[in-house]
């Protein structure tokens, strides 16, 4: 296998794909969204409950390639329990990683070693950014989260 492939399918990604975090269908939720990737048929259904401006609970189900499944898993771990604004920032940072063309941005260099960094595991996705066709796979869970969380936060404000 080529180096590109080893970087694309890092062990951490394969582990997340095999044992995804926060996979399920929580009973209590404010918003449920369903996002699809029409070019490959990948899909994710995501439920979220926002409480006091923070993501109290988030679960997801879906089918798709190992990249999309692992990314949804890492996303769910990263944002659960965090304020909505912080979750949106993390999403923006992940997007920057996807736009890096496979060169780890300087700001990301120490993240993998920082146990407290919510995007520590996300560093493994740098290899995805080398394969333009796969970036949308990695973004599927994140876009579902942004959609659901912004809807839920909006609802909470008007409650």
């Amino acid at each position: 296998m080529s180096t590109g492939m080893e970087q694309l399918y890092q062990q951490l990604i394969l582990d997340h794909a095999k044992h995804p975090a926060h996979r399920g269908e929580q009973e209590a939720y404010d918003v449920e969204v369903h996002h699809v990737n029409p070019t490959c048929g990948d899909e994710v259904t995501l439920r979220v409950r926002v409480d006091g401006g923070s993501i109290a609970e988030l679960t997801w189900t879906g089918q798709g390639c190992s990249i999309s499944q692992a990314s949804a898993s890492v996303m769910a771990q990263a944002v659960t329990g965090r304020p909505v604004t912080e979750a949106m920032d993390l999403s923006g940072e992940f997007r920057e990683l996807m736009d890096s063309r496979g060169e780890l941005p300087a700001a990301w260099e120490s993240r993998a070693d920082d146990e407290d960094d919510p995007l520590g595991d996300a560093v493994a996705f740098v290899g995805v950014a080398r394969y333009p066709a796969r970036i949308k796979c990695a973004l599927l869970g994140w876009s579902a989260m942004k959609d659901a969380v912004s809807q839920a936060a909006g609802t909470e404000e008007t409650r």
Partner: protein, 428 residues
Amino acid sequence: MTTTLGAAELAAVRADFPLLTRTVRGGRPLVYLDSGATSQKPEVVLDAEQDFYTQRNAAVHRGAHQLAEEATEAFENARAQVARFVGADEDEIVWTSNATAAINLVAYAMSNATAGRGGAAARRFALAPGDEIVVTELEHHANLVPWQELAARTGATLRWLGVTDDGRIDLSGLADVVSERTRVLAFTHASNVTGAITDVAPLVARAREVGALTVLDACQSVPHLPVDLHALGVDFAAFSGHKMLGPTGVGALYGRRELLEAMPPVTTGGSMVEVVTMESTTYAPPPRRFEAGTQMVSQAVAMGAAATYLGELGMDAVAAHEAELTVALLDAVSSVPGVRIIGPTTPEHRLAAVSFVVDGVHAHDVGQVLDDAGVAVRVGHHCAQPLHRRFGVAATARASAAVYTTVEEIAVFREALAGVRTFFGLED
């Protein structure tokens, strides 16, 4: 007995395709098994387009100068080349931007007839509530969605024939689903997913019995099999240039002459008219009635060159070569543990396009591992979501061959496929 392409002939064919010599992913020879999505182009096709622009470029069907004459001749000669290639008459071939546009042309002409356009002659195309349009579950979205839309616009009902477990149109329900109420029967000549080749005769026979129009999606058959549209007896057929070694941006609609003559236009404007006053317009006879505005002349010329190239190889020989590739592809995919074919598992009445799923590995990931070995396949639902739903899968990987594909390439594909489950840590 038809002879296939010999080793020397095949090598000569490959030498005609400049792109096939390039490498991918760090120097690996390209193994292009995605011809079902789009084919590669031989030099004669590239040259035809270049030659048109460097020697003959001018507006066609107008102008009194020599270039205009030569451009018009090249354009109409291409129409004749394509017509001859599919067993049609010249004036039965309408240029379209692609096959999807060709199918939509028929659907929108029927809409216009329903709205009263085209006068008494076009009434045979008008639909009303109670009428039925029949498609199949095997269809590419291009031969499904336009009919859903036509049904929604006219109040007609959309019905469909199912698919058998081996990926063929299920004809057991033909007499029931296609009835006196059926006005259109649209179906594929060969599935872009399962590779199954349709037995056209019983479908055409049933449609004629009930007075329904037949619309054949011939995108996957025309590049790979000898196709004689007059002999098949269909009313309309659609196919694209880019899948038959021609360029993108051009396709063709075949329509039986008397039908095209009776059909109202869809896109209107310049070039498709006879007499225009401020109040009203009379329209040119087909095919020009359906070719409004400046046409894709250079692409049409190149599509004509592609038809001639294939015709000179001989479609019997092309089909015989691809039949060998079908056997090799089926053997390759079946020989790898944990891989399941979606479609016929034996080579009869089947194209060299094989879709499959790998247990425990998503099609996208399968495609990525194959790509790393230089093997290009298609992954996803191949614009046939209902068919994938029918088989309970979200996505498949598809290896599809063309005249320039070799059994050696299929061996490289097999080797790479055998490594997929290992790569993802799955046992055999």
